[in-house]
């Protein structure tokens, strides 16, 4: 096998010569990531497939709720030139839709279906993408979106187990724990900025 470092260089040249890449990241000698425009995704993937990246390892999405965007990720692999390539592209969150890559990678069929189920991204071109796959009778927003709160959902759906044990011993005095907790939450309210 040829030197691995040249593999990533090979890929970089291959992709960057023909397409406008928004960002290139070389993670290590076996992995490289390209951020590209939505229009280029399909032709880049075709190019990669014909160059030996015949396996679609993974397809999914990330919810960047602050930017109001979804990011779709395709990871492809070439067993002879061992480099995993991430192809990432951003979609508008409100009307997220990207043509299926079914003609290029038939293996994407269920990945796309799952991405639709969990994020609500549409994949026109995939005949089954709208069918439910894993979540039977789901009645809320797609659950991997950042605005879905599983805690709230389960509180709504399921009852909570309360133990009847009484380990508390206040010795007839006023609770200090509650006072502490109250002070702490009051102090927390003084906060305004910062990242969570």
């Amino acid at each position: 096998m040829t030197n691995s470092m040249s593999n990533t260089e090979f890929v970089t040249n291959l992709v960057e010569n023909q397409y406008k890449v928004l960002k290139t990241e070389v993670l290590d000698q076996y992995q490289i990531a390209f951020e590209v425009k939505k229009e280029d995704v399909h032709s880049i993937l075709s190019l990669l497939k014909t160059s030996g990246w015949i396996q679609l390892s993974y397809l999914s999405a990330v919810d960047w709720i602050k930017d109001n965007e979804f990011e779709v990720v395709y990871i492809v692999f070439n067993w002879d030139k061992a480099v995993h390539i991430q192809i990432r592209t951003r979609l508008d969150r409100e009307s997220a839709s990207i043509n299926s890559v079914l003609p290029i990678y038939p293996g994407c069929k269920y990945y796309e279906r799952e991405a639709h189920e969990f994020f609500g991204i549409k994949f026109p071109g995939n005949p089954d993408y709208e069918k439910q796959l894993i979540l039977e009778n789901w009645d809320d927003i797609p659950p991997l979106r950042k605005d879905f709160d599983p805690r709230q959902y389960s509180d709504k759906k399921f009852s909570h187990m309360e133990y009847k044990n009484d380990f508390v011993n206040k010795d007839g005095k006023v609770s200090k724990q509650e006072a502490r907790e109250k002070r702490f939450s009051d102090a927390d309210k003084l906060r305004t900025g910062g990242k969570k």
């Binding site: 187990m161 044990n165 010795d171 724990q177 002070r183 702490f184 102090a187 305004t192 910062g194 990242k195």
Partner: protein
């Protein structure tokens, strides 16, 4: 395939027919406790077998049921915090003794949720929580699966399974290093020793805190310590500043010199180095831009109460009162006899620990919110108490302890026996350029009496002056307490010895040696004990064990007494004093004189 197989090939397995089974028999995994349960519920037919069962011992790292030594556990609740399944709940136990550095609560574990990950064990701040080799437990009542781990598992001593070790430890026990000036460099100048955290370092240090709040209990003003440390970690200076100002109006000063009891109480200090709480606070203060200060300080003054308050003395107590009174909407005037405000902060603490700039920053902001400072005015001399009473709705006494307590030994009234509060203000004035080096009378060799922070302030300031004046230093420090019991903070002791101060701890001064009307030294007797049985101050000495240490000047830093001369006779009669302080009610209100409050 060259070998030919027949359908009998696999028959060779018949040889296993008479071998002993390798698997663990069902009956050998029950503990006594289960046995009772199982016998009652008759899952197994042969009770006899279960009774005789000999439970299999698990591997050494077994993550079985927890044990928790209540004596060691400090109730910090870190285990509750990390538990990924929310199995742990801290339960209040006020029957446990209330101790500094511990909270009166202990964890309970819901074994319906626990996944036996041992993260709680790996993060336990006191190493009290461990896992045992017990892995079987059954009961018909679901409530019986919430248990409170104690040192014994279900009343039995059990073998230890998974315990924390160096690799599995999840706490960060080492403090993030803060830049100090080197001892040689700092000895000969009054620059601030500690340079302060940079943003990255502060965040790293803040990341060590487990947010337990034990420190809050031992802070004199109960600051929201975990809250503002978290604010630092999350990069929210403004929020942190707000949390600090809610309880402490002089954070810049405090961040440098407070005695940081909180750090000795800190949960991390049980096993490692305490969080640098004081430095983190200082980081917030130092890095908040001025306009943020103003914004925060201005916020609370919403309504103005039509009442005037006079505050006597501009030390920490006076300024603190002034700040909160002002925030509550009162109009406040502060009276100070010295030309600069700040009291003990300004005159009593050397600049290498507390530079003027820090004091100014704090005081400026108090002034900015509308507190009026009236300096060079001694109440009782420049303005009478009666006038204050008439002009203001209330008077707050925030005066400090500036008069030296006397030594009470032969030679103790010699002019070269100098009180700390006479000397330290001179030092400050020298730093400000008010006094010149020549004006300060520092001898070539000095003895300091006292073991507190003030004694070290004196000794270390004197070292610096000697270095400047003579190029070398000779300072001895003697105290009643032994070295390991010194009331001063550890940094002082450490940095002081680094700077070359000789320690004569555990000795009591008996006589100031005077020759030709000049001080030559101090006679010391070994101190046997400081307090008598009833706990009152009554040192005993061993006369046999005598030593004389040389010195041309003796500095006394054994505490100060208050100076109440400014209070008129008429009033003094009405006040009651206890241990040098004015007696007052719960809220500082003085009996018989409802307009008078003390700090």
């Amino acid at each position: 395939m060259n070998k030919q197989y027949s359908i009998f090939t696999s028959w060779r397995h018949f040889k296993h027919l008479f071998k002993k089974p390798k698997t663990i028999p069902f009956t050998s995994i029950f503990t006594k406790k289960n046995m009772n349960y199982l016998n009652n519920n008759s899952i197994i037919r042969s009770k006899k077998k279960v009774e005789m069962s000999n439970p299999r011992t698990a591997g050494d790292n077994q993550r079985g049921f927890h044990t928790n030594d209540w004596e060691v556990c400090i109730g910090c609740g870190t285990c509750e915090e990390i538990c990924p399944t929310e199995a742990i709940t801290m339960v209040e136990r006020l029957d446990i003794k209330d101790e500094e550095g511990k909270l009166q609560q202990r964890p309970t574990i819901d074994y319906g949720r626990c996944c036996f990950c041992a993260l709680c064990v790996d993060i336990c701040t006191s190493d009290s929580l461990k896992m045992s080799k017990e892995y079987i437990y059954s009961h018909e009542d679901p409530n019986a699966f919430e248990l409170m781990p104690e040192a014994l598992w279900q009343g039995h001593a059990v073998e230890e399974g998974w315990v924390k070790d160096k690799a599995s430890n999840l706490l960060d026990l080492e403090r993030v290093h803060m830049e100090h000036e080197s001892p040689d460099e700092r000895k000969s100048s009054f620059i601030e020793i500690v340079r302060g955290y940079s943003k990255e370092y502060a965040k790293l240090e803040a990341a060590r805190c487990v947010e337990c709040g034990i420190c809050t209990g031992s802070c004199p003003v109960q600051m929201h310590i975990p809250a503002y440390i978290k604010a630092i970690f999350e990069d929210d200076i403004e929020g942190g500043l707000r949390q600090i100002y809610e309880t402490n109006p002089l954070p810049g000063v405090c961040g440098r010199v407070c005695t940081h009891n909180c750090e000795s109480a800190c949960a991390i200090a049980v096993k490692g180095e305490a969080i640098a709480i004081r430095w983190l606070k200082r980081y917030i203060i130092d890095s908040a831009p001025n306009d943020m200060y103003e914004k925060i300080l201005m916020e609370p003054v919403s309504e103005v109460v039509d009442a005037r308050v006079a505050v006597v003395g501009s030390g920490p107590a006076g300024l603190g009162a002034a700040y909160y009174l002002r925030v509550m909407g009162y109009e406040v005037d502060v009276y100070e006899e010295k030309p600069l405000t700040g009291g003990v902060m300004r005159y009593g603490i050397p600049a290498y620990r507390l530079p003027d700039s820090a004091i100014n920053k704090d005081i400026d902001f108090i002034e900015k919110i509308g507190v009026k400072m009236i300096v060079n005015t001694r109440v009782g001399k420049d303005i009478t108490m009666d006038k204050l009473e008439k002009d203001y709705d209330a008077v707050f006494l925030g005066t400090g302890f500036f008069k030296p307590r006397s030594l009470g030994i032969p030679g103790g009234d010699h002019k070269d026996v100098i009180g700390a509060m006479t000397f330290l203000p001179q030092v400050r004035d020298y730093e400000r350029g008010v006094l010149k080096l020549e004006d300060i009378d520092v001898a070539k060799s000095i003895v300091v009496i006292g073991g507190g922070d003030v004694a070290f302030d004196v000794a270390r300031s004197a070292t610096r002056l000697q270095m400047l004046k003579y190029g070398k230093s000779d300072v001895k420090l003697t105290s009643l307490e032994n070295e390991d019991q010194l009331p001063s903070s550890d940094d002082e002791l450490f940095e002081g010895s680094e700077e070359g101060i000789e320690l004569f701890c555990g000795n009591g001064p008996q006589e100031v040696m005077i020759k030709n009307n000049k001080v030559t030294g101090l006679r010391l007797w070994k101190c046997l004990c400081i307090f008598n049985e009833t706990g009152s101050f009554n040192p005993e000495y061993d006369k046999e064990c005598e030593q004389i240490i040389e010195g041309q000047q003796i500095y006394i830093a054994i505490g100060q007494s208050p100076d109440y001369e400014y209070i008129p006779e008429s009033l003094q009669g009405k006040l009651q004093f206890s241990r040098g302080k004015i007696k007052a009610g719960e809220f500082g209100q003085v009996e018989y004189t409802p307009w008078l409050f003390v700090g």
